[in-house]
Symmetry: C2
Subunit: 485 residues, 2 copies
């Protein structure tokens, strides 16, 4: 077929472009977030395919991301951060012009990634894609194919013209030079990530109009299918190595106390050690994530404060996690944690965490049963991504008994300057103590992975809990420094 | 006085640290946002002063920013962006370890800024600081002074020890080498920015404990003063050159029409031109900001769409502006626009803008009279910062008459697929047409600056308005390309 023969008439083109543009209303009504991933060989026409499909779309509802250049900030975050951060909210479309496939394959072929790192990344990607779909995203993946000769011709054509010369990168030329290697790697990647719920759409990209038609109509069909038949997520078997857990009741709180004198002495020593270690992880660029969960009035705030006091304020951040904002609710529930990750060498302390999903959101019915049951595995996967990246992940459950909580609530109620710390909601939650205890036990049991285990802080005596927390953080950092990964 | 003599007792130190920490409750209750700026000579002890004052603070309520390294993203935004972006919300404290003073003085002395650029920056800073205070922020500025010999000694001490060596930068050594020059420049800067509402606190930094005491007690006193006597902002005289405006009624809408044929032809030509110009501004790194305001149903969406169609999606972004989120309401009202600025070479299109302050927020009573009256000047200052940075700022008012609005509302009401576009609020706003018209006339009159003038788009015929908008954008870009700044 001659290249300039009209295989797609103007009327036909107008039609499929308009059909897709009309789907924006469907997306909006169905509160569907859409991710379109356009991958493919250099010069296969990714950019022009995108330009074409968005032609009739209302620019307020989509965003195109070119992912070529990794910013300094992105380079200091986990591999998937830059994509996770750009996830669209419900009713919006994010189009990635090249994405996690290109970055992974290029990294592997160029030697920047070892075989093992490559495989880890592929696993992360499979999980990430499944999580997107399971959490209500429509994900449409395209791979645009051309052959070696055609690529060479196109790159040559671009490089020859003054106005398009800048569009040919070193990477493009490199890809053509090692075309067979790249082809093999692309195929391997596609095979590894062509899953039932996130299949690839591979398109021969010889003819621009046909590419455009295929891309537009595939997205249109995807939207229609998802809007009429929402995806039902399946629960995954737990694939992660676990540490056994025998329930909160197995922790004796009575004898876990420190005298004022012991406390002062230990605090001073621990803070001194921690300050030194902070300096070391900063220089070695090790990220640390400390997650606090626990009963109301268990003493999370004071515990966090004692750790923070030891740290250089330029190298850590504390995130108090309240109920999600509208922007946050409209996205994957882990999005607000992805976007709060520390840079390498920094410490992020979370005062309440992603585990809200399987506690308050579960018990108050803010998410479906399928949602919270699935979340155990999703959070394990999330934490695995973090530890694979090199992070030390420390999870604390701050434990008190019911009587101690009552005493502290009453004290707050009766002390004017503490009254802001106690709300009606705290009393309501207290009534559900047993339900929460059940949920917490299940949570710890199912997320007590070897790479990110829980630590129970006995906090009937807050001083004891503070010192225990610091010692755990110190030990975790020292172990890592002794055994770098 | 000997250096290691205890000029401040431990009890005293505990006292002023605790006093400051206690103020976090005051800040929270008064919904006060606090900015602390710690400037000073290298090695004057900025870091240790900060470490000390935050010692007892709850880490969930403050954040320390080290501003040394300008990120790639920040380098492509206006000078003040990186500070504006980090503004705390109500009840929070942001502490800048070095800030806009150091960046400006260093830029000037090192020759990176010309005299004229330096002076522009100083003007911006004066305005920025005043705006912060006028908009309810407590701003406390410190300058820590040491002399040449002392600095040399301290830098030498740091450089000699293995663990502190990395803390001495080239800039620090440079500053000591050209100490007198820097001293002169610091003094000039202080003089130029030591205003009645944002005064400097200059502190002799020979003794660490005294610095700490002065800093802590000054912040404490500042919080108490502001919490008990809120600042009342004064209205500024307009200092900007203006273009005359004769009211919306002076625009005749009747004869501003295009035939379908004229429209198609013009649209094609304009989009082609615009696509080329987009490429050019991208390469020349010129940022463009297009702001749309107008009556409900005036045709803003369709107008924006025709411009966006012509653009490379990787180089522009459209921001639909609805009512502010909780995070946004808790900050300076321009914060949500500062954080949405385009990178240099990109285009940002705002579908509704910061002018909401003097329209809906004024008329619905969402801000005080002082707030909206002050806003004209504040928005002119904001836009001046943008044009000084090099941005092309284009402001559109999309104009229709009352009958046309009624016809369009009715059409939306009666057409199922358009019903989402019309709400009760639209009808309520329509009842206040005359009030709005008065507010719009005043707004345009007071913000019609020569550097960011308004353009009225007669949109009874949407086709006419679209072409007019595109031609204005084309002309503005062409003029800039012909006359680079």
């Amino acid at each position: 077929m001659a290249k300039d023969q009209k295989v797609v008439t103007k009327a036909e083109k107008d039609h499929f472009r308009a059909e897709l543009a009309n789907r924006q209303q469907v997306i909006k009504n169905a509160k569907l977030p859409v991710v379109v991933l356009i991958e493919g060989y250099s010069a296969a026409g990714k950019g022009s395919a995108i330009g074409s499909i968005i032609h009739y779309m209302d620019p307020r509802f989509f965003k195109v991301y070119n992912m070529d250049v990794v910013s300094e900030d992105e380079a200091r975050k986990p591999f998937l951060y830059r994509y996770a951060q750009k996830l669209p909210k419900q009713g919006q479309i994010a189009i990635f012009d090249g994405g996690w496939m290109d970055a992974t394959v290029h990294g592997y072929v160029s030697g920047a990634l070892t075989k093992k790192e490559y495989e880890k990344q592929v696993t992360s990607i499979r999980q990430f894609e499944r999580q997107l779909v399971d959490n209500g995203y429509l994900l449409v993946k395209f791979f645009l194919e051309i052959d070696e000769e055609e690529q060479k011709k196109r790159l040559g054509g671009l490089a020859d013209r003054k106005n398009t010369k800048y569009r040919v990168s070193d990477y493009d030329m490199e890809q053509n030079k090692h075309f067979k290697e790249y082809r093999k790697a692309f195929r391997e990647f596609i095979k590894a990530t062509d899953t039932g719920i996130c299949p690839w759409n591979c398109i021969r990209a010889d003819h621009r109009d046909l590419v455009e038609k295929k891309v537009a109509s595939t997205i249109t069909a995807g939207i229609d299918a998802m809007a009429s038949h929402p995806h039902v997520a399946e629960l995954q078997e737990n694939p992660f190595p676990m540490v056994e857990f025998h329930g909160l009741s197995s922790y004796d709180l009575t004898d876990k106390v420190l005298s004022d004198e012991e406390y002062r002495k230990e605090l001073k020593e621990c803070q001194k050690k921690l300050a030194k270690l902070h300096n070391k992880i900063y220089r070695k660029k090790i990220p640390v994530i400390i997650a606090y969960e626990g009963w109301d009035a268990a003493g999370k705030g004071g515990n966090i404060k004692r750790i923070a006091q030891a740290l250089d304020p330029r190298g850590y951040e504390v995130f108090p996690i309240a109920s999600p904002s509208t922007e946050e609710k409209a996205r994957h529930y882990l999005w607000r944690f992805w976007t709060r990750l520390p840079r390498s060498g920094h410490i992020a302390i979370f005062d309440r965490t992603w585990y809200g999903r399987v506690m308050v959101e579960r018990l108050e019915g803010f998410c479906s049963e399928n949602d919270w049951k699935r979340a155990y595995n999703e959070m394990n996967e999330f934490e695995r991504d973090l530890t694979d990246w090199g992070a030390i992940v420390i999870k604390f459950w701050v434990q008190i008994d019911k009587d101690t909580q009552l005493a502290r609530f009453t004290d707050r109620q009766n002390t004017p300057e503490k009254q802001w710390k106690i709300t009606e909601e705290d009393w309501r939650n207290r009534e559900k103590w047993d339900l929460y205890e059940g949920a917490v036990n299940e949570m710890i049991e199912k997320t007590n992975t070897t790479f990110a285990p829980w630590h129970i802080l006995e906090s009937n005596d807050k001083k004891y809990a503070r010192i225990k927390a610091m010692k755990i953080v110190i030990q975790a950092i020292e172990e890592r420094l002794a055994n770098p990964i």
